[in-house]
Amino acid sequence: MLLSGDSTKPIYVQIAEGIEDEILKGNILEDEQVLSTNQFAQVYNINPATAGKGINMLTEEGILFKKRGLGMFVAKGALKYLKEKRRRKFFEDYVLKTLEEGHKLDFSSEEIIEMIRGWGGKNE
């Protein structure tokens, strides 16, 4: 994951969403450990409290949990939970934006759907 200094998103939100993305991509599995607050601070050159804030957001949602003396781990069921959470936002974040841009360029919704059908995937 990468953090952006130019983004309007606060760094701690970027940390939280970055960890979520890695879980969704399967790069961090359930029951596996994530970087500690101090490691985040070191690797990304940010204040440990900022990193902690991002990690706390995820613990409050039950995506991460703390093993005393060991660190933060990905909770069981986190992947399923995250998928549901992101699916709820998918229409607004991606479909609507695609349609908006498409209509700006005079593509009809039908044409956009055709484009999606026609694109068989990155390997074709």
Binding site: N27, Q39, K122
Partner: protein, 305 residues
């Protein structure tokens, strides 16, 4: 593009110590703004002093406006070297700022009197004060005013802003850019405040241990400096053959700092594989390039950028 400075195999050794500058070849083109970057002791000031004839090279040649810069009085009015602690000479201490400005006026044929006055107001510099009673920031301001108002065809700012607050530094950069647009000239900017000054730079020279590590257009550097992050095997596969400056491993994930071009097609293919790409700021590139020299410990520091 006209070259106003040509350095050939320029080497400088001080008292049989390590080479301060080692066989440097460098051309400075007319009317561009150069950023000269390097760590402490990298040889920046030595290079600038050799170019302006304040030091003799141990071996190698410098030509400035096609002539030898050493003991060459005719060139003096064409170069302005602004450095920190510019008024250290005893003879300057009891002079008023306005007298120093008058001296500068006598030296530089291109001096703009009203611009200097305007700058003094801008930087809140009291020209009736003696230089010895000026604060650190105001000493810098006085030196910068000379550097700007002289409009010398080659103007060098060597860490010239020391002691200036953030507002005045910004004012300096803005004024410099505006005046440069109206009166193009060659400017060399030696600085440690990389992020702050990068907007000014048109071309970047990075010195490391007396050698030129990088000499490139700012635009080209921006097109080649990236952070790439994702699954290790995928990142490695996509970056095969690219110039990788640094790798940081985090479980299955890696983050790499690269200095190489990535075409749109390459970038899209990487994104489809869940790989993130982000521009790497100049300061991070600088740290990654120069912090690595000198052992494994420093490699770790480079990772922290």
């Amino acid at each position: 593009m006209n070259k106003i400075v040509e350095c050939r195999m320029l080497t400088k050794v001080f008292d049989n110590q390590a080479k301060a500058l080692d066989q440097v070849n460098l051309d400075i083109e007319e009317n561009r703004i150069y950023g000269l970057l390097g760590r402490n002791g990298a040889g920046k000031t030595t290079l600038l002093k050799l170019i302006t004839g304040q030091l003799f090279p141990t071996t190698g040649n410098v030509s400035l406006f096609g002539k030898r810069p050493h003991e060459n009085e005719a060139l003096l009015g064409n170069i302005c070297f602004v450095k920190e602690n510019a008024f250290y000479l005893k003879s300057f201490r009891d002079l008023k700022v306005k007298d120093v400005l008058k001296m500068a006026e006598a030296v530089y044929p291109s001096w703009d009197c009203s611009f200097a006055e305007q700058l003094a107001v801008c930087f809140r510099l009291d020209v009736n004060k003696k230089t010895k009673s000026l604060s650190k920031g105001m000493l810098s301001a006085a030196a910068i005013i000379i550097g700007l108002a002289c409009r010398a065809p080659l103007t060098i700012f060597d860490e010239a802003y020391l002691g200036l607050d953030a507002v005045l530094r910004q004012q300096f950069y803005n004024t410099l850019l505006q005046d440069y647009t109206e009166n193009p000239r060659t400017i060399i900017f030696s600085t440690h405040l990389i992020e702050e000054c990068k907007g000014l730079m048109d071309r970047v020279v990075i010195l490391e241990e007396g050698e030129i590590l990088l000499h490139e257009d700012m635009d080209k550097i921006n097109e080649k400096s990236f952070y790439v992050a994702g699954r290790r095997e995928l990142v490695e596969q996509h970056l095969k053959g690219k110039c990788i400056l640094h790798t940081e491993e985090m479980g299955r994930l890696v983050r790499m700092a690269i200095f190489d071009s990535l075409s749109d097609i390459e970038q899209n293919a990487m994104r489809l594989d869940g790989i993130e790409i982000q521009p790497m700021p100049l300061q991070k590139l600088f740290i990654t390039l120069t912090a690595g020299n000198g052992g494994g410990e420093n490699e770790q520091n480079a990772a922290a950028v």
